[in-house]
């Protein structure tokens, strides 16, 4: 087989595997944005806080792996509750009275909540670093020590499995949101919050539950990634946020299902960028893609494209 074809196949496989993982990472972020219109920029930081808190306890008491994962999820949920109370609670509920309040005020409330979550990101990251100051922390690893080889193409089957599980998790969550009563409540609280409230739905509580669910999903996704990586640094929070953000928004960010396609596309683009242009280009492409996609949604650009 020609070298370029081998490289292209390898890049495609690596990209798809990474993409499945990105989709899982983006699921929680997408859930809170699509169902709640809440952009939680402390998304990665809450998971990082949970991981560092869990590792701190693990280093003290040598927790078994399943207990460690549970502890991480619990600490992440506590941090998510902190973010919810300080940044979002009572703020995005403005939309519940959207009939009587100006659009500018509703949008401002969303932006202010997002900015507050960015500030909390700083807090959580700093507390995590203060807890475990060393830059690189070991995380219990269950990664496979070998790869599948098909001719000259190599596949990390443990990562492949993780990607499949991630995609499955996204698909099941989307289905559950579309067909279950809880999913209906989530959607009603966001799409027609005034009507939902008048129908007797406790909008505040529903939004809070959806937000916690997103936080819990982020912790599980983060643990899964780290169980294969075997190490974590304070940059992990930012990594989670940006990968999740691009995966969630790449195909418009309008539905939960799009996070799967977005994640896979991101993985492919990054993988090809690395193959063709090097590691730095991989990062650049991530942000360029996000920027271009956002710009394409702007009215000015849309007018230009139509013309």
């Amino acid at each position: 087989m020609a070298t370029w074809l081998i490289n292209a196949t390898q890049a495609t496989i690596d990209g798809l595997i990474d993409g499945g993982i990105y989709a899982w990472i983006g699921l929680g972020l997408s859930l809170s944005f699509v169902t709640l219109r809440r952009l939680n920029l402390a998304y990665g930081a809450t998971a990082l806080f949970g991981i560092y808190g869990g590792l701190w306890l693990h280093q003290k008491w040598d927790l078994p792996l399943p207990v460690l994962v549970v502890v991480i999820v619990v600490i992440t949920l506590v941090a998510t509750a902190y973010v919810e109370v300080l940044c979002f609670s009572g703020r995005t509920n403005v939309s519940a009275q959207s009939g009587s309040r100006p659009a500018g005020e509703i949008q401002n409330a969303e932006i202010v909540a997002m900015a507050a979550s960015f500030a909390i990101w700083m807090q959580l990251e700093q507390v995590a670093v203060n807890l475990l100051p060393r830059h690189l922390q070991a995380f219990p690893s269950i990664a496979a020590t070998s790869e599948w080889a098909i001719g000259e193409i190599y596949i990390r089957y443990d990562r492949g499995l993780l990607a499949v599980v991630g995609l499955l998790c996204c698909w099941l969550t989307a289905k559950w949101l579309a067909h279950s009563r809880t999913g209906l409540r989530f959607r009603a609280a966001t799409d027609h919050s005034l009507a939902a409230r008048l129908s007797g739905l406790r909008v505040d509580r529903v939004q809070r539950h959806a937000f916690y669910l997103a936080g819990g999903l982020s912790a599980v996704a983060a643990c899964s990634v780290l169980l294969l990586d075997g190490q974590v640094t304070p940059m992990f929070g930012m990594w989670m946020l940006f990968k999740g953000l691009v995966a969630a928004w790449l195909l418009g960010g309008h539905s939960l299902g799009s996070v799967m396609g977005g994640g896979l596309l991101l993985g492919l683009v990054e993988s090809y960028a690395q193959w063709l242009m090097g590691a730095q280009a991989r990062e650049f492409v991530l942000y360029a893609l996000l920027f271009v996609l956002l710009v394409r949604q702007a009215p000015v650009t849309r007018k230009g494209l139509t013309a």
């Binding site: 500018g104 202010v112 997002m114 956002l294 710009v295 702007a298 650009t301």
Partner: protein, 294 residues
């Protein structure tokens, strides 16, 4: 004044430019997490002007400001039509693109047997205009404070005019402002252009103070801090964001024991202010009562 106090005051003056830039965008209802990019462009361009091209310092700074304004306008034109959330993310994405691009940029010339110029992740060393011209720390502080005072005065003047009222109207309710006949997109782009120019001015002064800059300096946290300064200080008047800078750099730096908790305190303050006083310490109401009192 001790040299520490002079250094800290200079840092506060320089960071105030970023706070002013964030303040301007907040007035028109936009949060930018990408102002650090224009700060970075200003630093690199002014450094190239004064060190590699041997231009006089004022010319290098003006050139940096112009470049900052042009790039900011070019970025703002397509992005200002986005919703506030999307604009914030787009600005952050652009800033990260700029940081990565700067970390790849190598352009060095030989001056006095030394290679000088941007050198990728290793940054840009020997921006020595202050040293070669025997500018003392106090003199440089006066330069920074003078530039800052000019910026605040110009902003103060224009905020009392129709354009200032229009900017605030757009920030409060874009739809209403449009119905009043305001071209909200043009005004927002113009505001972003000025904000980019002010951030670049801060960057130009920063590069000549530190003599060394590297792309890692212009990371997202710098942009978040600038927004935090403006949000804590308030949106009532142009001097208000400076209070945010004083609170963070002045007060928190004064307590060295708190160094490792600085982000925790600052982040918490921003979040609490956004919840309790979303328009900051000095909001329009307080400023009006202060003015009437005077």
């Amino acid at each position: 004044m001790s040299s520490y106090a002079i250094g800290l005051s200079t840092d506060m003056a320089i960071m105030s430019f970023l706070a002013l830039a964030a303040y301007l965008l907040l007035l028109v209802g936009r949060i930018s997490f990408g102002l650090q990019a224009f700060f970075g462009f200003g630093a690199y361009v002014a450094g190239i002007g004064s060190t590699m091209l041997n231009w006089p310092f004022p010319i290098a700074v003006v050139f940096a400001v112009v470049i900052g304004a042009i790039v900011s306008a070019a970025v703002a034109w397509p992005t200002m039509g986005l919703s506030g959330l999307r604009y914030a993310i787009a600005s952050l994405a652009f800033a990260e693109m700029a940081r990565i691009a700067l970390s790849q940029w190598v352009w060095q010339v030989r001056i006095d047997e030394r290679l000088i110029g941007p050198n990728g992740v290793d940054g840009f060393r020997d921006i020595r205009w202050v040293l070669t011209n025997d500018i003392t720390d106090t003199q440089y502080l006066v330069i920074c404070l003078g530039a800052l005072a000019c910026c605040v005065a110009v902003m103060w003047y224009f905020e009392r005019r129709r354009i200032g009222t229009a900017m605030r109207a757009i920030g409060f309710d874009e739809t209403l402002a449009q119905h009043m006949g305001l071209n909200t997109h043009h005004i927002r782009v113009m505001t972003a252009t000025i904000a980019g120019a002010i951030a670049a001015l801060g960057g130009a002064l920063y590069a000549h103070r530190t003599t060394y800059i590297e792309p890692a300096v212009f990371e997202p946290m710098l942009g978040v801090h600038s927004v935090g300064y403006a949000l804590i200080g308030g949106l009532g008047a142009p001097f208000a964001p400076l209070l945010g800078v004083i609170l963070d750099l002045g007060l928190l730096n004064a307590f060295h024991d708190l160094a490792q908790w600085r982000m925790v305190i600052f982040g918490g303050l921003v979040a609490i202010f956004l919840r309790l006083k979303p328009r900051g310490l000095v909001d329009e109401k307080l400023f009006d009562s202060l003015r009437k009192g005077i």
